[in-house]
């Protein structure tokens, strides 16, 4: 009988020499990825954490049982109903953004399972696909019970099936990163950048936010998912090792591209959840502090390890740490009916905390919140007054990331217009413009929401856009959690009267 250590290499390394077909036909470059190299260059491919199918199934079974046990103990509706309103809305954001994005990860991983260039890589990708399927089903299961209580949770399944502007942006990202990607770029973009660089650590941070917010169900769920991510994210590292020997410039491009694209989405999901949708007394750190401690240090160390450079846009990225998600949140608050979750206005105590954590540009952001507060004070609180404290003009979107043109600072927005082949494109930032220009054929034909409105594909009137195109209803579209009825706002009104 072989020992585990003797048996595992036999089970992992299963490649053979092809005699009836050429290797290029079995692994075409278009779907296996660039650079195309003979298998001899890949045969040393080795993951650092090795597992067999039997071990995998045993582990996953135990992890599933632990999730179900926590659900039965503290994940019932009455437990969820006790959570603070801002955090509940952070849950709704993640409920929508996470499950079906994970399902696109199934597809991308399965591409690696077939077209990865070494059998050990393909085995790991098979486990990765099973992981991602689990990450689709667990949140759908946990959030489904909440739909009968709050129909905004219906967006856990509905989100990616709509043309909501944020769904358009998320699809644009995941369609390229996972669904339509070759095995090598998937390993770099998803496994190495998104998972190793962002989500693996993000889930650690999210679990901590959930714990502080007394949401033990979500804490257990993301912890369980994170342990899977930590394993299959390792696929990226050995792929990168091989690529660096053959085409380091291409590696630098892929890293710079996917770091920026991941940052864009991540800063919204995690930045907004950390600094706005977690109650002030439950915030363990600011988003910027989290990024500096958990993401940036680790990423720069990895670049050093491979002899790679910081992305050329590093200064822009560092500036965005101070401002981007604040601009997005204020913009989204004033267009909250275009989204499927509710928003909270930062109180004077929140604003004091934000000023302390983000001193560089907070004066400009504070002026925006003061103006919104003034509008509520003038109009008065109440559900019927929501529309009077809401934007009416059409917001605009970047032709690369598809997110609002909210980059730069309130004093100097960095959007730039590009004319190419008789068409005009607008980009929120130089990195988005650079990514577009590196591979324009990938992106040029995609229409952002504004161009869909102008071409007649989407309704121009906001109420019709919300209901017919974004598939929101008066019950589900976003509102202020208090409809403007804040004690501090009433006190300010009294003192100015």
């Amino acid at each position: 009988m072989l020992t585990r250590e003797e048996w595992l290499p036999l089970a992992r390394k299963l490649d053979w020499d092809f005699t009836y077909v050429r290797e290029e036909e079995v692994f075409p470059e278009v779907i296996s990825g660039h650079p195309w190299l003979p298998h001899t260059e890949w045969e040393e491919w080795e993951e650092s954490f090795k597992t067999s199918y039997r071990e995998y199934v045993d582990n996953q079974y135990e992890k599933d049982m632990a999730v179900y046990a926590v659900r039965d103990a503290v994940g019932r509706l009455e437990n969820i109903q006790k959570l603070a309103a801002p955090w509940l809305n952070s849950l709704k954001v993640h409920a929508a953004a996470l499950p079906l994005a994970e399902f696109t990860g199934v597809i991308g991983s399965l591409r690696g399972a077939r077209f990865g260039r070494d059998s050990a890589w393909r085995t790991m990708s098979t486990f990765g696909a099973l992981d991602e399927y689990r990450h689709t089903q667990i949140p759908l299961l946990l959030f489904h019970q909440l739909v009968r209580w709050d129909s905004q949770f219906d967006w856990a399944h509905k989100f990616y099936h709509t043309n909501n502007w944020f769904a358009v942006a998320a699809r644009h990202f995941f369609d390229e990163l996972t669904l339509g990607q070759n095995a090598i770029e998937f390993a770099i973009g998803t496994n190495f950048i998104l998972e190793t660089g962002f989500t693996n650590l993000q889930f650690v941070g999210l679990a901590s936010l959930a714990r502080e917010s007394n949401d033990h169900m979500f804490e257990r769920m993301v912890t369980s998912i994170q342990t899977d991510e930590a394993r299959h994210a390792q696929i990226g590292h050995p792929v990168l090792t091989v690529l660096m020997k053959h085409d380091p410039e291409y590696v630098q491009f892929l890293l710079d591209k996917w770091f920026w694209r991941s940052w864009r989405l991540f800063s919204i999901l995690t930045g907004v959840s950390t600094d706005y949708l977690t109650a002030l007394d439950q915030r363990p750190y600011s988003f910027k502090e989290f990024m500096e401690e958990w993401i940036i240090d680790q990423y720069l160390r990895t670049l050093d390890e491979f002899g790679l450079k910081k992305p050329w846009y590093w200064e822009i990225f560092e500036q965005e740490l101070d401002i981007y998600h604040h601009m997005i949140y204020a913009s989204a608050y004033t267009y909250r009916a275009t989204l499927w979750f509710d928003f909270v206005m930062p109180s004077p105590a929140d604003r004091k905390w934000l000023r302390q954590k983000y001193p560089k540009y907070w004066d400009d952001m504070d002026a925006v919140w003061e103006q919104v507060a003034k509008r509520w004070r003038t109009i008065g609180p109440g559900a019927a007054n929501e529309s009077a404290v809401h934007g009416t003009a059409m917001p605009t979107f970047c032709d690369l990331c598809q997110l609002p043109l909210s980059a730069g600072t309130p004093r100097k927005n960095t959007a730039t217009v590009l004319t190419r082949d008789g068409h005009k494109y607008i980009f929120c930032s130089e990195p988005c413009r650079w990514i577009f220009l590196r591979e324009p054929e990938r992106y040029a034909n995609h229409k952002d929401v504004v161009k869909r409105v102008l071409s007649g594909e989407a309704p121009a009137q906001l109420p019709n856009l919300l209901t017919e195109y974004f598939r929101l209803t008066p019950d589900t579209w976003g509102k202020d959690v208090n409809h403007g009825a804040y004690d501090w706002l009433a006190a300010q009104k009294k003192s100015t009267a």
């Binding site: 204020a330 003009a393 043109l405 909210s406 309130p410 927005n413 607008i426 102008l454």
Partner: protein, 81 residues
């Protein structure tokens, strides 16, 4: 005929789509953007409009100023002009 433009108001957190009428003045266009952003940025009379890197005479019409569809314009505080 309306010309769709990307408008950026100094102090605001996002760009807005503004439909400019050929016959309206540059000052009216600037006011239109200020109105659209007024939920986030207080209105001010001390503003000017920049297009293609140049300050535009507020008395000119949109047609005279030569705005082209899907271009960017900025409304900035006058001390920036």
């Amino acid at each position: 005929m309306a010309i769709p433009l990307y408008g950026f108001l100094e102090g605001d957190t996002l760009g807005l789509l503004v439909l400019a009428e050929e016959g309206e003045t540059v000052l009216e266009l600037a006011r239109k953007l200020q109105d659209a952003a007024s939920i986030r940025v207080a209105r001010s009379n001390r503003v000017g409009l920049i297009y293609n890197g140049k300050a535009i005479d507020p008395r000119l019409t949109v047609a005279q100023a030569g705005f082209e569809a899907m271009d960017r314009f900025d409304v900035v505080w006058r001390d920036k002009l």
